[in-house]
């Protein structure tokens, strides 16, 4: 919706001349070059990020800063349209930053393409269309391990242990799974990367309570192995409960931040974002 004239197909619904399926909407800018060294600080930090979609779209982020330490869980909450997903994408290099920078382990990675960031140990589960629908569950996981050249079978076993339903449906196209099952595939796919930092955009949306609890459990487990977790959540209470750090985003800028407990205790935050 960025008003890019090239993205306008005025209602063509005909599948016989174009394949409407799976076209990307993200512009991957940047290069594959080696990153420049930066200074010490949190493990991953998106610093003072300002930017929006497309070359000329309005700014959606306004000097927003998000950081996570090694082995910690950071949670972003905020109203719909605040720019939470946008902030995640910015950290992952999927949109142009007009200001600010992203540091990973002290290195400035602002100029890297998303693929390059994956190779630097970042994993991401987007909010929507986060699985390969035409590929089987197993192939989805394999794709998660695309950049790995070692034997990833043990990791796959771990994922299957984590989400047993996936083992059952391993040869079924992921597109035929229910909403919640897909979410599990998506998280599993990201875990296959064996990332140093895992970014999750609303991993529990549409997931039943029992699976949600299970998922949060796994996330804590994963964090304990030293992987940093950065996630956006609308199930804010549960999320903040397990968070080491919480950010409240309002209109693309940092509203409140603090430990998860602080935010849960803050009456302002409760009223305006957690539903009282």
């Amino acid at each position: 919706m960025s008003g890019n004239p090239y993205q306008d197909d005025r209602g063509n619904t005909d599948a016989s001349i174009t394949n409407p399926h799976g076209q990307g909407s993200l512009t991957a800018s940047g290069t594959q070059e080696r990153p420049m060294p930066g200074h010490e600080g949190p493990f991953l930090i998106g610093e003072n990020m300002t930017g929006g979609y497309g070359k000329s779209g309005p700014d959606i982020l306004h000097g927003c800063t998000i950081a996570v330490e090694r082995g910690e869980i950071a949670v972003i909450v905020g109203p719909n349209g605040a720019g939470k997903s946008t902030a995640m994408k910015a950290v992952f290099g999927m949109l142009d930053l007009r200001e600010g920078r992203v540091l990973l382990d002290g290195q400035d990675i602002s100029a890297l393409t998303p693929q390059a960031r994956v190779r630097h140990g970042m994993g991401f589960v987007p909010q929507t269309s986060n699985i390969f629908t035409s590929m089987t569950v197993e192939e989805n996981l394999e794709m998660g391990a695309f950049i790995r050249n070692d034997d990833f079978r043990t990791t796959m076993e771990q994922v299957y242990d984590l989400f047993p339903i996936l083992r059952e449906k391993r040869h079924q196209p992921a597109g035929e799974l229910s909403g919640g099952q897909r979410q599990q595939v998506a998280v599993g796919r990201a875990l296959m990367t064996q990332p140093k930092v895992l970014m999750l955009d609303e991993p529990t949306a549409g997931v039943s309570p029992i699976v949600m609890d299970e998922l949060f459990d796994r996330i804590i487990e994963v964090a304990r192995t030293g992987i940093s977790i950065l996630m956006v959540e609308q199930n804010a209470r549960q999320a903040l409960e397990i968070a080491d750090k919480g950010y409240v985003l309002v209109q693309g800028a940092n509203g409140y931040s603090g430990t998860g407990k602080d935010l849960l205790a803050n009456p302002d935050v409760r009223r305006s974002f957690l539903g009282g």
Binding site: Y6, D8, R10, G11, N12, D14, A15, S16
Partner: protein
């Protein structure tokens, strides 16, 4: 934008000749009507019609059927039986459909097939000899039933109706199913229509062509022989030949322009009304529109039939202008793809854009030929005279036409991807 295209055409008038300019204008008007029809389907409803050619050809057929004088001998030879045969054929299909819907169970398929088979045999038994008889009547000059001998202008709406009829049948079967159907069905029907036109000689002489169709405007020669006209022309400082050719073209132009303007006004009114809003909603999101109580399939059918009818009218106009029906000349490249290019370059979804595209692309289609030559002369300018390469290139200069067209298309799309006049 319109001024620019008008400038191009007027420029042609000054640089080449007014006759050329008017001819381009007239074909531009017709192209604009076609583009309007396609825009209705594609720009407004996202319906992908690859069968424009077929509907245009049906319009052309209408001109023959309406305006040519009937061939008496042919009617005597077998006209009645041909009609009877056609009725039988139609009855067979109706019967088959009835059987299919009434009978159920295992019998259904067989019963329908049996009805079809028997019907077809009877149909062929009645039709074939009649066709042979008709086609034997003076095959070099007639060999067909002729038309009704009515004024040719009547053929324009009739062309629309014929095209609409075909579109209705296609739409009924193909719309509402997966979108690919429409593409295949229209592609197919266009080929089938052309095949019928080419091979059913009794109808419109097939590939032998019908020439000398009546005109809605006076003949140049008559004007040249009319002293009053010659005198008036002299008053403008024109010789009779030039004056008469220009006069005739202007009359055609006025007729075409009238049709275009009426259609354009109707389209614009429809577009800016709740109907247009509903169509936009359907295009934006069919599932939601359906859930909001809109009969998506029904609307699609409506638009498809209307758009095709417009193409039919344009086809009739074009055949009238040509003065002949030549089924062999209907080619998808020219009558389907080029029309699309017009719509997309002009700006799909915008009626005015489609009209503009019609004018511009037609202008280019005709004028790229000299442009290509120019380009090639430019390329070879630096080469030594008589060098092998230069000779080879100059020999191929005719093929620059396609190349130039491609280049222009790519340029326009690069700079104005949404078309020259985008939808709002």
């Amino acid at each position: 934008m319109f001024a620019a295209v008008a400038g191009l055409i007027i420029g042609t008038g000054f640089l080449q000749s007014w006759n050329s300019a008017l001819l381009i204008l007239n074909m531009g008007l017709i192209s604009a009507v076609m583009a309007l029809g396609v825009n209705l389907q594609w720009g407004l409803a996202g319906l992908f019609n690859v069968g424009v050619m077929g509907f245009v050809a049906l319009g052309g057929l209408a001109v023959v059927l309406i305006s040519m004088p009937p061939v008496g001998a042919a009617w005597q030879a077998g006209g009645g039986n041909i009609l009877l045969g056609l009725v039988l054929g139609a009855a067979t299909i109706v019967a088959a459909v009835l059987v299919w819907s009434r009978v159920s169970g295992k019998l259904r398929g067989w019963a329908t097939a049996a009805v079809l088979l028997i019907g077809m045999v009877i149909y062929r038994m009645v039709l074939d000899p009649a066709v042979e008889a008709v086609e034997a009547v003076d095959p070099a000059l007639a060999g067909y039933l002729g038309g009704l001998g009515l004024p040719v202008l009547l053929a324009w709406p009739v062309g629309g109706v014929l095209a609409a009829g075909a579109a209705y049948v296609i739409g009924k079967t193909a719309l509402g199913l997966r979108s690919d159907y429409l593409a295949i069905a229209t592609l197919g029907i266009a080929e089938i229509i052309i095949a019928i036109l080419k091979n059913e000689d009794w109808m419109a002489r097939g590939v032998k062509n019908v020439i000398g169709l009546p005109r809605p405007v006076p003949y140049e020669v008559d004007l040249q022989n009319d002293p009053a006209f010659v005198e008036r022309a002299a008053g403008f400082g024109l010789d009779a030949t030039t004056a008469s050719t220009i006069y005739v073209k202007i009359e055609y132009g006025l007729l075409f322009a009238a049709v275009l303007i009426v259609l354009l006004v109707l389209s614009q009114l429809a577009l800016n009304s709740p109907w247009g809003r509903m169509m936009r909603a359907i295009r934006d999101n069919e599932t939601a529109a359906r859930a909001m109580g809109k009969d998506v399939t029904g609307r699609h059918l409506q638009v498809f039939v209307l758009g095709s009818a417009i193409c039919g009218v344009a086809g009739a106009m074009m055949t009238t202008l040509d003065g002949q029906l030549t089924p062999g000349s209907y080619q998808p490249l020219r009558y389907t793809f080029l029309i699309w290019v017009m719509v997309i370059v002009g700006g799909s979804g915008n009626n005015l854009g489609a009209v503009l595209g019609g004018f511009l692309i037609w202008f280019l289609w005709v004028q790229v030929e000299p442009m290509g030559q120019l380009l090639m002369t430019g390329i070879t300018a630096g080469m030594a005279d008589g060098s092998w390469l230069k000779d080879h290139l100059m020999d191929s200069v005719q093929h620059m036409r396609l190349l130039t067209m491609g280049l222009i298309l790519l340029l326009v799309l690069r700079l104005n991807p949404r078309g020259l006049l985008p939808e709002r």
